[in-house]
């Protein structure tokens, strides 16, 4: 108890909401249910700080570990190593009470809006569940909060929606209910894992804008996980790029777009077209190869087999350190070790 109560002085000064240090989440691979074959190193050393009310985008391709990051932060997967501190409290080996305290302060918005809602519960019931579980005993209080949540998510008139079942709602409406549910406990942080990728293109913008409005109005910190880089500029201040279970570059949005450092980030940005007829005339540069196996990651830098700027003897032997280039721009690449500020 004492450890959790002690808030690090540094964090208090910098007003950090979520602090993640060298977080690793490994999954055991077993054959025949018994034999341990190895570990899938889904998250392999992730560190960052998040301020209250800050929106951060985590981008990367499939298998880079972003979903695992979401689940570890939410407490759905126990971390194998490393530290997660929320609001000053250490979440390693949490007691039941601590876990409960934490879960009421972090909301989860999932990718599949229909799957995220129990199909046999009405909207009212869906929103009531988190309240009941977290001890809001007064029925009127719950009613009030449900009304409030639905209104904030622009699902009005509220009466129309209370008794509907998920299959009666459109994709966009379903996702709003999911967000309402994530918000109803008045959390300080919302983790949104690909919140709009299963929605229609025209609805995506609407939902993302709504989320942004809510974030600004209620000072919510948002971790926005996506593989659709073209949306990130509109909805977050900072961006983390993940590859092979690590954050290989993190920076402020405009900084990253204007001046990407890591070769992978460069490749990623090059692959994203703005819609323009000229695109049909040229080939895009794409790094060869495939994302690395998380079971047996390559020695040294995870990206080196595909990197055109690889330094032999260095990148293929030792993992690069995290280089702070100033202004919150951190990159994990041997090319920049002499630029440490």
């Amino acid at each position: 108890m004492q450890n959790e109560a002690m808030v690090s002085v540094e964090e208090q000064q910098n007003d950090v909401l979520l602090s993640v240090k060298d977080l690793r989440t490994w999954f055991e691979l077993r054959r025949y249910g018994f034999v341990r074959v190895g570990h899938v190193r889904a998250l392999d050393g992730v560190s960052f700080d998040l301020k209250p009310g800050e929106a951060v985008a985590v981008v990367g391709e499939s298998g880079c570990g972003k979903s695992t990051l979401a689940k570890t932060i939410l407490g759905l997967e126990p971390p194998t190593a490393g530290e997660v501190r929320f609001d000053g409290r250490n979440l390693g080996k949490p007691t039941r009470e601590l876990l409960r305290w934490y879960r009421a302060r972090v909301g989860y918005v999932q990718q599949d809006p229909y799957g995220a809602l129990p199909p046999f519960m009405s909207v009212k019931r869906i929103l009531e569940e988190p309240l009941i579980i977290n001890g809001v005993k007064d029925r009127h209080e719950r009613q009030r909060r449900i009304y409030e949540a639905l209104t904030q998510l622009k699902l009005t008139p509220v009466e129309d929606f209370l008794n509907k079942y998920p299959h009666m709602l459109s994709g966009g409406q379903q996702q709003r209910v999911v967000i309402a549910r994530a918000k109803i406990l008045e959390p300080k942080l919302i983790v949104a894992d690909e919140p709009v990728s299963m929605l229609d293109a025209s609805v995506r913008v609407e939902i993302l804008q709504l989320l942004r409005e809510l974030q600004r109005e209620y000072e919510l910190a948002v971790i926005y996980i996506t593989h659709d880089l073209s949306t990130v500029r509109y909805f977050s201040e900072r961006i983390f790029v993940m590859y092979g279970g690590k954050i290989i570059e993190q920076a402020q949005m405009e900084d990253l777009l204007a001046d990407p450092k890591h070769p992978y980030t460069e490749a990623l940005l090059r692959a994203i077209p703005d819609p323009h007829p000229k695109n049909a005339e040229t080939m895009r540069e794409v790094p060869p190869g495939e994302p690395p196996s998380l079971l047996n990651p390559p020695l040294g830098c995870r990206f080196h087999p595909r990197c055109s700027k690889m330094i032999e003897g260095l990148c293929d032997q030792t993992e690069p350190p995290e280089v702070d280039l100033g202004d919150q721009h951190i990159v994990g690449c041997w090319l920049y070790t002499d630029q440490q500020s």
Binding site: A201, R233, L268, A271, P277, V286
Partner: protein
């Protein structure tokens, strides 16, 4: 009869209608679609989900489910009218011989217990495009080369390949019989960014090498610009705009097309994002008059009447009273 500037139309569709019977009524999935596509060009068909673009693809290839109520119109492939063919003749002579398709999530629709080389060779054997099995496998190898799958992957099973590889195998299957037209239904929607870019590169290369005509159906407008020569916009089962890519991506005419372009988030261009409020109408009971009127910012009273598809410029068709 629609005439384009050079009469080298490979595919001409006139008044295609495809309605389905469901428990809740008749779904008018494709309603009176008319356009023509020249040889060697790529047409992208864009629209929201439920606008009927996948049904259009199925209609062109006559891959119809059991509950079809109406299937009418005319489809001309290289001058040959296809709707009058019997199902059996269509299967033998057209489908996968002259036209083929890469369906949505094709990477998941490969037969898991058959080796990929066998799957790619199969269309040749079924449609008797070759005389010997060796010839079939030789052409399969060529197809693999064309899509950029290394030849030592040929003897593998689908689960041994990554998503991108599987998508390429599906593409090879569609190309192996050397068809004149290939329809691609959301070929990259389930793939990662870099893999998407790779597939697009492959398609661009194939286009350059063998001049195949593509119809690309997608809701991802940004990626569609990688391949598009012409663009067709569908809304609520109808074709609302048809023009060349240059026009579409830079300055479309139909209010829906403009709304669609405005809602595409761009990484490089600074712009404010718009979105179209509301939802597309149900195909069960589409509204009378212009189907987009309800959500259109430029709606006026004439829109209560259904506008005709008008050619406002050479090869540019718009279904809107504003552009009469």
């Amino acid at each position: 009869m629609r005439k384009t500037s050079s009469d080298s139309a490979l595919l001409r569709i006139e008044g295609l209608r495809l309605h389905f019977k469901t428990m809740r009524g008749t779904v008018q999935a494709v309603d009176d679609v008319t356009f023509s596509l020249n040889r060697g060009r790529t047409l992208v068909v864009v629209g929201e989900s439920g606008c009927g673009k996948s049904s259009l693809a199925r209609g062109i290839l006559r891959l119809l489910p059991r509950n079809v109520e109406t299937y009418s119109g005319k489809i001309y492939l290289n001058g040959d009218e296809l709707m009058c063919l019997t199902d059996e003749r269509f299967r033998r002579e057209v489908r996968w011989v002259r036209m083929s398709m890469v369906p949505q999530a094709a990477m998941n629709s490969l037969n898991p217990v058959v080796r990929v080389e066998d799957q790619v060779a199969e269309p040749l054997l079924v449609h008797k495009c070759v005389t010997t099995r060796e010839e079939a496998y030789e052409r399969a190898r060529e197809a693999f080369r064309m899509v950029g799958v290394p030849l030592d992957f040929m003897t593998r099973y689908p689960f041994e390949l990554s998503g991108g590889m599987r998508q390429r195998v599906a593409l090879a299957m569609a190309l192996v019989t050397d068809p004149e037209l290939v329809v691609l239904d959301e070929p990259t929607s389930a793939l990662d960014l870099l893999t998407q870019a790779n597939i697009m590169n492959v398609l661009k290369q194939i286009k350059k090498d063998i001049g195949v005509t593509f119809i690309l159906i997608t809701h991802d407008i940004a990626t569609s610009s990688e391949l598009a020569d012409d663009a067709a916009v569908m809304y609520a089962g109808q074709l609302v705009e048809f023009c060349d890519a240059g026009r579409f991506y830079l300055d479309p005419l139909h209010p829906y097309s403009r709304g669609l372009m405005g809602s595409v988030p761009t990484l490089w261009e600074r712009k404010d994002l718009m979105f179209i409020p509301g939802q597309p109408p149900s195909l069960l009971d589409p509204p009378k008059g212009c189907r987009f009127a309800e959500r259109c910012p430029d709606r006026f009273d004439k829109c209560e009447e259904e506008p005709p598809l008008t050619e406002v410029d050479v090869g540019h068709w718009v279904k809107c009273w504003l552009h009469r």
